[in-house]
Amino acid sequence: MILISFDIDGTLTVGDPPGILPMEMVRAVKEQGCLVGSCSDRPISAQRAIWASHNIEVDFTVSKHMLPDVKAEFAADVYYHIGDREDLDRRPALEAGFEFLWPHEAVEMPWVEGT
């Protein structure tokens, strides 16, 4: 099982500022069978509203500091977080035991390889 956590602002095209990852990609990842959700500074209710408005059923919506909670709640073989910030995405992701991908790296969907 693969779990993928998406930052929103600066990462997804629906973000503020917009990032490069389209919602279709998240939908595709979900259809690959991955556990998918968002980890963002947006209010959790706003994260849920974004996913609902795109008809994507996600597995989690959490605040930025809650990747450890995600890891504790979901059993997966590998955990990824995709985000655009060193201090708020990369560092906390690595500390929480996630693999980290910048948005331009995530475009390639490197997790598909070898699974």
Binding site: D16, P17, D41, R42, P43, I44, S45, A46, A49, V62, S63, K64, H65, M66, D87
Partner: protein, 439 residues
């Protein structure tokens, strides 16, 4: 050259009696620019350009001939933490789009009165300019006093904010490896801007047996009110509520201050038109009379204000506010004190004794009906939490509430007759008392 207002223009002392111009100065026009999270680099969205929009809208709103305007009071500083990088070239196409001053960053990273006058040729009658630096709270005190003193009879008041790419506060000295000795005494420990307020809040909670979760209804109410402020950032760009669950799940910035106890830096500009009570009668909008303005110049004894220092000063500020306006707390229809940071709003309103509140009681008050539809509205503007960082929503809202044109935000549980707004911090704030009538 435009000078800063002299200290004598602020009403800083207790025992000054009624303000000598009580009810003789009025706000008659409001203009706001659109908001943006950050500057996109275009000439038409730079801080100078959005200031021109706000000023022209205020003139239009008041229905005055621009040639009649003879004064401009404003803040030349347009940020508290977004710096233009030292080596970054100034975009020539932006500078070239305007009539520039000697400072190429004028209109981009700051704003002089000269820049405004060079770019508003319709303002042919201005012979008084003055800076009220700090925020709109300062500028409107200076404008009120200037109109009262007869230095100007029809005066624009302006406050603008720019914001750039990158994280706020993380440029400049914070990115470097060394600090000068004096700054180091404060800055070496890496405290975010909200730290001092968080400390006061921590002491407040210990002293009165309160907790951080008790702030949730205030945050929720502020954002709900802000979402009814069409000029605000959240209403126009990201209409997101902050539910109590959202608030409690947010990450800490400086515990006990979390992400939603902080406001979002944005670009925005607002302008008001101030005039004499006599002239106001012939203008388009219902005049909102100024009963008083008051100021605190208090500084902490040492590095950061203690709760005792905060409470002593908010009480002193309230006495000045009421004395000069000739009112008591019971006369307030609503309050619009500052909230950026959310955790000092209660200090302001406890000092005021709003609705009979005493020190340590505001967080319990927040658990009751504080909405715009109840008898005890708290921050109907939504403030910075509801609309983004400007430090002026509460002034605009006070004017519009009293004019009964606050739209969806209009208070319905009270008759909007007298209000107080001001800030920023409990120590060092500037405050205005607004009224539907001059007496």
């Amino acid at each position: 050259m435009t000078e800063n207002a002299p200290a004598s223009m602020y009403r800083t002392d207790e025992g000054m009696g009624l303000w000598e111009h009580r009810g003789k100065v009025a706000a008659v026009g409001v203009g706001h620019s659109p908001t943006a999270r950050r500057w996109d680099g275009r000439a038409e969205t730079c801080v100078g350009a959005i200031s021109l929009i706000a000023l022209r809208r205020a003139i239009e709103d008041a229905g005055v001939d621009p040639a009649e305007i003879d004064g401009l009071v404003m803040d030349p500083v347009t940020t508290t933490g977004a710096y233009w990088p030292k080596d970054k070239p100034v975009p020539p196409e932006v500078v070239g789009a305007f009539n520039s001053t000697d400072n190429p960053l004028d209109g981009i990273a700051g704003l002089s009165a000269e820049w405004i006058l060079k770019n508003m040729p319709e303002l042919t009658g201005i012979d008084f300019t003055m800076y009220g630096p700090g925020c709109m709270s300062n500028a409107i005190c200076v404008a009120a006093q200037a109109v009262g003193d007869g230095l100007t009879h029809t005066c624009l008041v302006l406050k603008s904010w720019h914001n750039y790419e990158g994280r706020y506060y993380q440029g400049g000295a914070n990115a470097g490896s060394d600090l000068p000795g004096t700054a180091a005494l404060h800055a070496l420990w890496g405290t975010p801007a909200c730290y001092g307020t968080a400390l006061q809040f921590a002491e407040y909670c210990r002293k009165y047996g309160k907790n951080h979760d008790m702030m949730a209804p205030f945050i929720e109410n502020s954002r709900q009110n802000g979402l009814k402020f069409p000029e605000g950032y959240w209403a126009s760009h990201r209409p997101e509520e902050i539910t109590p669950e959202d608030y409690k799940a947010a990450r800490w910035i400086a515990k006990p201050a979390n992400l939603f106890d902080n406001d979002l830096p944005i670009m925005v500009s607002a302008a008001y038109l101030y005039t004499t009570a006599e002239r106001a009668r012939n203008m388009r909008q219902k005049p909102v009379y100024i009963l008083n303005h008051a100021a605190s110049n208090t500084r902490p004894r040492s590095l950061t204000p203690t709760l005792d220092e905060v409470e002593a000063d908010t009480a002193r500020t309230a006495r000045k506010i009421y004395e000069g306006a000739g009112i008591t707390a019971a006369d307030l229809s609503f309050e619009n004190m500052y909230d950026g940071f959310a955790q000092f709003h209660q200090f302001h309103i406890e000092g005021l004794g709003y609705r009979g509140m005493k020190f340590g009681e505001a967080l319990d008050f927040y658990q009751t009906d504080i909405s715009i539809h109840g008898p005890n509205p708290i921050l109907p503007s939504g403030g910075n939490i509801g609309c983004g960082r400007s430090r002026f929503w509460m002034h605009t809202d006070s004017i519009q509430q009293i004019q009964e044109r606050a739209g969806e935000r209009q208070v319905t549980g009270v008759k909007p007759e007298i209000a107080v707004s001001g800030g920023p911090m409990p120590l060092g704030g500037r405050f205005t008392v607004w009224s539907a009538t001059p007496d």
